[in-house]
Each structure stands twice: as C-alpha cells, then as structure tokens.
Amino acid sequence: MNKLNNEMKLEFLSKSSNEAFARITVAAFAAQLDPTIEELADIKTAVSEAVTNAIIHGYEEKKGVVKIRGQIIGEELIIEIADNGKGIEDIEMAKQPLYTTKPNLERSGMGFTIMESFMDEVEIESILGIGTKVTMKKKIKSHTEEDEENLQFTPSC
C-alpha cells in the first residue's frame, strides 16, 4: 500500500509567462489518475495560484527559479511548489481570505483561500529570507476499486 506510483520534477525561471506552462504540465501529470474535468480545473487553478505567488511575492522583480515536484501515491496527487524568495512573515495572516501585501496591484488576497478550497490539504512552510514551499494534496476518487488496484501495480500504457 501507499507505494510511490510516479514522480516528476519541473524547474523554470520566475516569469509569469511560465504560469500556463506550469499548470498545464502538472495537469498532464495528474491526468494519469483519470480525474474529472472539474478536478483537473481545480488542480490547474491551485497550481496557478502557488506559482504566481512564488513569482510575484517570493521573487518580486528579481530573477529566480520556481521548483515543482509532483508525486502520485496510490490515488493521491501531491504537488510541492517551492521558491528561494523572500519568505512569508506571518503564515496564519497570509492564509486569511482577502489578506494581501500588494493591494495596489489589484491583488484580491484569495490565492491561499482558492488553494485550500480546491485541494484536500495545503501545507505552507516558509522561512524569511530563505524561501517558501507549498505542498498540496488531492485525492482523485473517480476510480472503481478494481481500477485502483490496476493503477497501483501496472503502468497505464
């Protein structure tokens, strides 16, 4: 049980033109779990939020690398999105709906709220001056028991 079925890593420069690339790549990876269209949309949106945060809050104007690690364990998708940017001072505060440190740029402060409601679990680790890592998990439930067993032990192609 809970054996690792698959894993991927992705690194790219902190440019917002990479956001679409990042969410589409993660969605393509997640597709192995045979998610519904709604589940895929949820995953894409959550990834877009975390990647945008890494780029605009973590690195601000500076150039940096955003790292994504994706894992599939059983029927669960685990996505880590990390930056080596400025870090979050108060994580509890940052998670509050409508809380933003950049209101002048028309930010709505809904990023973490979206991640938390679209994924099953969201964990935020951050150290000032070192960086931030967001880990999100989502169970993709659309399989029958039988499918699930096949998924554990045989590749899907």
């Binding site: 917002s16 033109s17 956001e19 679409a20 969410r23 709604e38 949309a41 949820d42 894409k44 949106t45 877009s48 939020e49 945008t52 780029i55 605009i56 709906p97 740029l105 028309e106 930010r107 709505s108 809904m110 990023g111 709220t113 979206i114 409601s117 679209f118």
Partner: protein, 108 residues
C-alpha cells in the same frame, strides 16, 4: 480581448479571449480601462464565453473594472462563465455585487 460599443444602448461588451492569469491580466486591464473611459458606457458586460481558465488574477481584474465603471456611473455584468470560473468567483464573494447573465453571443 475584443470589445464592441453599442451606442444606442450605451452598452460596452468586453469579450475576453484568453486564459486569465497574472501574465495576461495586465494587458486586458489596460485595454478594458481604455475602452470604458473612451466610451463612457452605462453598462459593461464582460463576456467569458471563450475563457477556459481564470485564477485569482481575474478576481482583481473584475473588482478593479467594477470600481472604475461604478465611478463613471456604469453597471457591470459577467456573461457566460464556465463552472470552474464560477467557483473562483463564488469564493471571492463578488457575485454578491455583480450579476451573472447568459447572452446570445452579441459581441461574437
């Protein structure tokens, strides 16, 4: 983004044609504000019919345009949103102040 102004109805339809995220939102914002300020409509409709993706950048976009339109005496409505965009907008609470409608692709 494309837009069309119907002078007789004082209606500005802004048809969004791209995925909406941090990368695309800046250009949309600039163009939408230009059209609103140039035409001084009484109503602005954002048509999402061909938008397949939107994250929180879209919330900021709509609230920002709502503020500007409101200041200039116009109302704002959102048309033809798909389920995942609706989910994002619902979370933000802006559906309490902005109406969702379905249209016959008038801007099309």
């Amino acid at each position: 983004m494309e837009s069309k102004y119907y002078n007789e109805d004082k209606l500005l339809i802004i048809k969004l044609t791209e995925e909406i995220d941090e990368c695309t939102v800046q250009k949309i914002r600039r163009k939408a504000d230009y059209e609103i300020e140039r035409n001084m409509p009484r109503k602005v409709i954002f048509d999402f019919d061909s938008v397949t993706f939107m994250d929180s950048a879209g919330i900021g976009l709509i609230i920002g345009r709502y503020r500007i339109a409101n200041m200039l005496g116009a109302t704002v409505e959102i048309a033809n949103i798909n389920d995942s965009i609706k989910k994002v907008l619902e979370l933000s609470g802006i559906l309490k102040i902005i109406k969702i409608i379905e249209t016959e692709a008038k801007a099309g």
